[in-house]
Amino acid sequence: MATNTESVDLVGDEAATNLARAALFAALVGAFAYVSFPFPLSPAPVTLQVLGVFLAGIFLGPLWGGLALALYLLAGALGAPVFAGGSAGFAALVGDSAGYLWSYPIAAALVGGIVHRGLALRDLDAVRLPTLLAATVVGTLVIYALGVVGLVLSLDLALGEAVFQGAVVFLPAEAAKIAAAVGIVRSDAITAA
């Protein structure tokens, strides 16, 4: 074992809780990959991962929400089975799904920034419906825009083909996730936030 001779530098109470919440949220987004819902118009089963991205921004705020999703990517790259279908490894970050994955931290930070209007968290009861909708729609657009760019670059598809295969067919399911996210925040069902 390596030896440290400097004195112990304790992590503060608030930072420890925030770190634990960010890590648990990252694991939750990974666990969402295993819960799929058959969806009428979608070619692939729909998982809740994008919902996890919205909720990370909404409940953890732009800073810790973005960090949680960054942790998710790093843990997946180092071998935690958190990507779609329980796959893992660095390859996902440079393969066909790369655009979607890299967009998650950005989307979570954006959603959090719009909902909380800045870095500091505000009471979710004070957030109005149009703000929530705007935040989740912007998040969805960022995820699919970057996802399509990733498809074009990694699979050599034309832009139109990538938009069809990688975005249009999934959008109806995203509307359901936006509705679910709004429902979760409006219902006061989250006790620990």
Partner: protein, 237 residues
């Protein structure tokens, strides 16, 4: 079965995790630079070699079965055209090569995952990224590995409970909401207990980590990474 670390005495298990990460990055770079039939044929040998050195085989690739349909469909989508000639072979071939390239990168990643325990990955992160950001990433990665199976079980049991009560008949956004609320409440509950427990146990920014050192056995891996990066740079330049 998901892909995970398997204890073994294989060569890749004795390498420093940082050299294995470097090989993966170099492999991805060179695969993007040489997406030609000949280039990918050579890289197929390299990828198979990496997996073999980690003591793995085709069985380890089963974890990627969900990625395969998308990679197989992509060339068909690329080749399909509206109107004559209905199927453009050149477009399909280009995307087929690109799909195969992604598959090869997956194989090399599988070799890393199979040969590297979580503690070593964490140590590699903390020794590469200095200071508190490195600590945050290292601790966070370790916690994600630890809590993923628990949260997965929480979600699946929430879905079972919903179905047992006839919730399976509700619209899909309602079902998503019910499962997600249960998952988040459990995750927040676990996080707050964990935060308290960490503080109670003197959770520090500077804990003691396993020693990592590049050794002679790392030289071939580092040389391979350097050669692949050099080849990619030559190609692009």
């Amino acid at each position: 079965m998901t892909l995970s670390y398997v204890p073994d005495g294989a060569l890749a298990h004795r390498l420093d995790p940082r050299s294995k990460l470097l090989v993966q990055v170099a492999f991805a770079v060179v695969a993007y630079a040489y997406t030609t039939p000949r280039g990918l044929a050579v890289l197929t040998l390299v990828a198979a070699g990496c997996l073999a050195l980690a003591g793995g085989g085709p069985r380890d690739l089963w974890a990627y079965r969900f990625a395969l349909p998308f990679l197989l469909v992509a060339p068909l989508v690329a080749g399909a055209t509206v109107g004559d000639p209905w199927f453009d072979v050149d477009d399909a071939a280009a995307t087929g090569l690109a799909s195969y390239r992604v598959l090869l990168i997956l194989v090399v990643a599988a070799a890393y995952v199979r040969s590297t325990p979580v503690r070593e990955s964490r140590a590699a992160v903390q020794r590469t990224v200095p200071g508190k950001p490195g600590q945050f990433l290292g601790v966070g990665v370790a916690l994600v590995f630890r809590f993923l199976p628990l949260l997965k079980r929480d979600l699946l049991s929430a879905r079972e409970a919903m179905r047992a009560r006839g919730g399976g008949e509700r619209p899909v956004r309602e079902r998503m909401r019910i499962v997600a609320v249960a998952g988040i409440n459990r995750a927040f509950g676990r996080a707050d207990r964990l935060g308290t427990a960490l503080v109670a146990r003197c959770f520090a920014w500077n804990p003691t980590l396993p020693r990592l050192a590049f050794r002679r056995v790392d030289l071939p891996a580092l040389a391979l990474a350097a050669a692949m990066l050099a080849a990619a740079v030559l190609r692009v330049a």
